[in-house]
């Protein structure tokens, strides 16, 4: 008997496997930034990274490699806290960057003051995506609690978009019910009773609704809703704009603790350039509500319907809203544990 494994088996297999490894190790000569972002920004940052590199090299700099990581905003913040070495974070809401500042020393406490507009280079809001022809006749938040209406929204514990969804619903309830918080609590309880599944991130929820065909209405980032129409087909879905929604500000920040000198120079320019007219036009083209429309195509700038937007400050800012609504034992826990 020959020891088959030793003589013939493992060596060629190993050699074959090792031969494959050269595919996965790119060279690392140039400066590399890791941008840890939330779910719906994939397409925007893919385009922006090219735009930034073109501009950056035109200024006489060496090109930079920008790596991307995307996921639910809360989960991404958690990963940075656990040691994911991001140089910049571009998340869905301020409280996730606050969480990084609070649970580690890589981001300073006053990060939000460093860039204009609360460090939010673009904003968005929450709208409804319904199936073509709106078969359930959904027009506003009040229609979401009807019998037999299935609502798709991700989990506010892990998803930033889901937290904006929740607060938009709460904001509408307060406005239509004369500020009665018990009525708002009752409304959101009924709303979440109609949610069959909570995905961890906004993109997962969009996939559940759009590609797997679950549910009647998706509470979505406006940019996600437009993107789903563009990617999957205008003939499959309609966007419904509710009477009241929320001004969602997805902020950006340097991760100071993970920067060397060269990275600091590049990363600072990377975030500041987000406010340039060209980058703002790109954000508008990617369905974000950006501030500067001077370089944008008219159809990109005029796409967004006017609606009544509540702002996070009406909830006392994220520092107050986060623990009250989404903290352990907070309002979301109370309504969802029933």
């Amino acid at each position: 008997m020959t020891p088959f494994i030793l003589r013939h088996g493992r060596a060629p297999l190993l050699a074959a496997l090792l031969a494959g490894t050269s595919l996965g190790t790119p060279a690392h000569a140039e400066t590399t930034l890791l941008n840890v972002s939330y779910d719906p920004t994939r397409e925007f940052y893919r385009a922006y990274n090219d735009l930034f590199n073109d501009w950056w090299t035109a200024q006489g700099n060496e090109p930079v490699t920008i790596e991307q990581s995307h996921g639910g905003s809360g989960a991404q913040a958690r990963a940075v806290i656990d040691g994911l070495e991001a140089q910049v974070v571009t998340l869905a809401l301020a409280s996730d960057i606050d969480a990084i500042a609070g649970n580690s020393d890589v981001v300073p406490e006053d990060w939000q003051k460093t860039l204009p507009h609360n460090s939010a280079p673009y904003t968005s809001t929450i709208v409804f995506l319904v199936r073509e022809g709106n078969p359930k006749g959904i027009k506003d938040w009040g229609d979401l609690v009807g019998d037999g209406v299935q609502v798709i929204t991700p989990n506010p514990k892990t998803s930033g978009g889901a937290r904006w969804n929740f607060l938009a619903a709460w904001g509408w309830a307060l406005k239509t019910m004369d500020g009665d918080e018990d009525a708002a609590l009752d409304f959101t309880r009924k709303l979440y009773a109609n949610v069959p599944v909570l995905d961890t991130g906004a993109r997962g929820a969009t996939t559940t609704f759009a590609q797997r065909g679950v549910g009647d209405v998706l509470l979505a980032w406006e940019n996600e809703a437009f993107l789903a129409l563009a990617e999957i087909g205008e003939d499959k879905f309609d966007i419904v704009v509710p009477s009241v929604s929320i001004l969602a500000e997805p902020p950006v920040a340097l991760v100071e603790g993970n920067l060397d000198d060269e990275q600091r120079r590049v990363a600072t320019a990377y975030l500041e350039h987000l406010y340039s007219p060209e980058a703002q036009a790109l954000a508008l083209a990617n369905y974000y509500r950006a501030w500067d429309t001077s370089k944008a195509a008219p159809e990109d700038a005029d796409r967004f319907p006017e609606l009544d937007l509540v702002i996070i400050e009406e909830f006392g800012g994220w520092a107050e809203a986060q623990p009250r609504f989404f903290g352990d034992g907070g309002i979301f826990d109370q309504i969802y544990s029933e």
Binding site: L17, H70, S104
Partner: protein, 286 residues
């Protein structure tokens, strides 16, 4: 050894239509549960033609993911072969206190959810984990890098080799090894010429299963990968990413490639079984 069976007696007492129905039900279930999902993956991958599918899997991120997956398997599988062989050897050939505990420990990865395994590794090696400060002081990256992905894969695939080897080694007992030692063989010589040849088929199955799982693991790796495109995305992670980015042809092309690798593993196993049926039967001594 074999019983003589008279051709006229049926083993079953059920009527023929009943048996045919039962067979049809089993075949239909197999088709629905196993073949249909696989067929859909391949159909979706080749929806825009083989060239498009090939383009997708040779794109930069896809190549990096394939390279990473093969690297992880190339590190994890040999380590598991050594650890699994040592564990199976200890359990099958020696009696010691705590043997039952060791067997249970080997089975642990089967019973623990992969997500829990991933989280446990983050708790241990993460920036605020038990070993986080020490790793940072020595400039060692574990989580959200290759070592973390390898550790997660090692944990998940640990039982495969040992579980294949233990029954075969136990059944074979230690008589042959004892004879080799009595005849003056060194320990290593004995392992090479007696133990390994006796268990080579079981070992090969273990390696193939371990490899298939190492390439396919999603849950534990997802927690610890950090999902950096082209850096820490293995094939299963990239498949999910592509799917979430509305790139369904790319997602299913990668899925088809991964399924193809698994099918190749299965085919290899079947081929060896068929080609060496006599040797396998002999090594099992039935």
């Amino acid at each position: 050894m074999s019983l003589s069976i008279t051709p006229t007696t049926h083993v079953t007492t059920e009527s023929r239509p009943f048996r045919v129905t039962l067979c049809l039900v089993a075949l239909t279930l197999t088709a629905i549960l196993l073949l249909a999902p696989l067929a859909v993956v391949f159909a979706e991958a080749f929806r825009e033609g083989a060239a498009a599918a090939l383009d997708m899997v040779s794109e930069r991120d896809a190549r990096a993911a394939i390279g990473l997956t093969l690297t992880v398997a190339a590190i994890a599988v040999p380590l598991n072969v050594i650890a699994g062989f040592a564990a199976a050897w200890a359990i099958a050939k020696f009696d010691f206190r705590g043997k039952a505990v060791l067997i249970s420990l080997i089975d642990l990865p089967f019973s623990v959810s992969p997500v829990v395994a991933g989280l446990a590794l983050v708790l241990l090696y993460g920036a605020h984990g038990v070993l986080g400060d020490w790793l940072a002081a020595h400039d060692l990256k574990v989580v959200f890098a290759l070592p973390g992905i390898v550790l997660a894969t090692l944990f998940i695939t640990f039982p495969f080799v040992a579980r294949e080897l233990i029954p075969v080694m136990t059944e074979q007992g230690r008589a042959e090894e004892e004879a080799a030692l009595t005849l003056g063989a060194s320990g290593w010589h004995m392992i090479r010429t007696v133990t390994l040849p006796n268990v080579r088929w079981a070992l090969l199955y273990g390696v193939l299963l371990c490899n298939a799982r190492a390439m396919g693991e999603f849950g534990a790796v997802a927690v610890i990968s950090g999902k950096i495109r082209g850096q820490t995305t293995t094939m299963p992670i990239l498949i999910e990413m592509f799917y979430n980015e509305y790139l369904s042809v790319a997602a299913f092309s990668m899925a088809a490639l991964l399924a193809g690798l698994a099918l190749l593993t299965l085919a290899l196993k079947s081929f060896l079984e068929w080609h060496h049926a006599d040797a396998i039967a002999a090594s099992r001594r039935h």
